[in-house]
Symmetry: C2
Subunit: 215 residues, 2 copies
């Protein structure tokens, strides 16, 4: 995968479907390159329908749709990929079931987990959490810049950073090896989600250009 493909990676909050679609559209207009759908609460059928709608929007904006945890929903909706936490399907099992064409990402919190995820077939890893965040309460301690850098140095696939990341952190994270910035509230809670995305996307692109990973 090209290192800058995932870009600004917007993880949708668990809200009404119509609001999810509206937020995703704002983020895509602002330049998000990845949308992730989590599936807590809603039925499988409803989630597949939501994912199918998001897939259309993402395709129109040349962005990637990733489904959290649920490989069945990813496959049923034609999503581009699935994101697996340490409590989800093992990466190698997902790869065996889904084939080579699907993008598989894995949440990791150490270089050992990162290397293992790549060995098992992950196309990218997500360092989680980079900083403390109120959005997720079930994560481990924040890894910070140093922990993030150690993970980036342990793998050769793209590394997404997630957890409490704001615009001001982007440059130093990219210098640590991060190539994609995942956020929830930084976009979802912004007064103007499209502009918030555009601001992040610009900062990310300039930071990647600076280290020669984008043009």
């Amino acid at each position: 995968m090209e290192p800058d493909r995932l870009g600004v990676y917007f993880v949708l909050p668990d809200i009404e479907v119509s609001e999810q679609i509206a937020l995703a559209l704002s983020a895509l207009k602002g330049g998000a390159r990845t949308i992730q759908l989590r599936t807590k609460g809603a039925s499988t059928r409803t989630t597949v329908e939501t994912a199918t709608r998001l897939k259309t929007l993402c395709a129109q904006h040349e962005a990637v749709l990733i489904i959290n945890d649920r490989l069945d929903i990813a496959l049923a909706s034609g999503a581009d990929g699935v994101h697996l936490g340490q409590d989800d399907l093992p990466v190698d099992m997902a790869r065996r079931l889904a084939g080579e064409d699907i993008i598989i990402g894995a949440s990791v919190s150490s270089p050992a987990q990162a290397s293992e995820a790549v060995r098992l077939g992950s196309d990218y890893v997500a360092v989680s959490p980079v900083f403390d965040t109120p959005t997720k309460s079930d994560t481990g301690p924040a890894l910070g810049l140093d922990g993030t850098r150690a993970i980036c140095e342990s793998v050769s696939v793209p590394v997404v950073g997630i957890g409490g990341i704001k615009n001001k952190h982007v440059r130093s994270l990219v210098q640590a090896g991060i190539t994609s910035i995942a956020v929830v509230s930084e976009i979802a809670s912004a007064n103007d989600p499209e502009t918030a995305t555009a601001t992040l996307a610009k900062e990310l692109r300039l930071s990647l250009v600076q280290i020669g990973l984008s043009n």
Copy 2:
């Protein structure tokens, strides 16, 4: 599918994994021919592990393991099939993703839903709920013997009855066209789950023999 293949169909309650395994084993020893695992609450990884253990037990007893809703978990664990409610994956989508070898069942509450499920690729349908039951609160009104018979007459695949079924109902349900009896509490809450299963299994077999559907 042979009409008597699913037999006594034990739907595991949502309890601790070790208790689920123990209950499943008792039911299998008592002659259950199908075990269904529902997946509320636990993580995907834990559920795959539970399903994989159940699959081994089922295979040892020549029984069938069915996973409720989650096709990803069914595929990852090597389960024999997946059971789909009206809010789960559409049957045709599951069939397309999983291929011809997997058993697909669908919950239905009318002849129209039953015919549609079979048209889309269901190997069996489950009439739900046959009677009122405290185990599930999200189901429609009880279909009773007449409603059950109407569904059985609308399809040529095996029909499972679920919802408040006790031993005393088995004969009349088989005469209405039911070929498999699904229960939760009738086994799970019994003082002796193995004997409770054996009692149900014997009544079901005798009832099927009486109408020439088993030997």
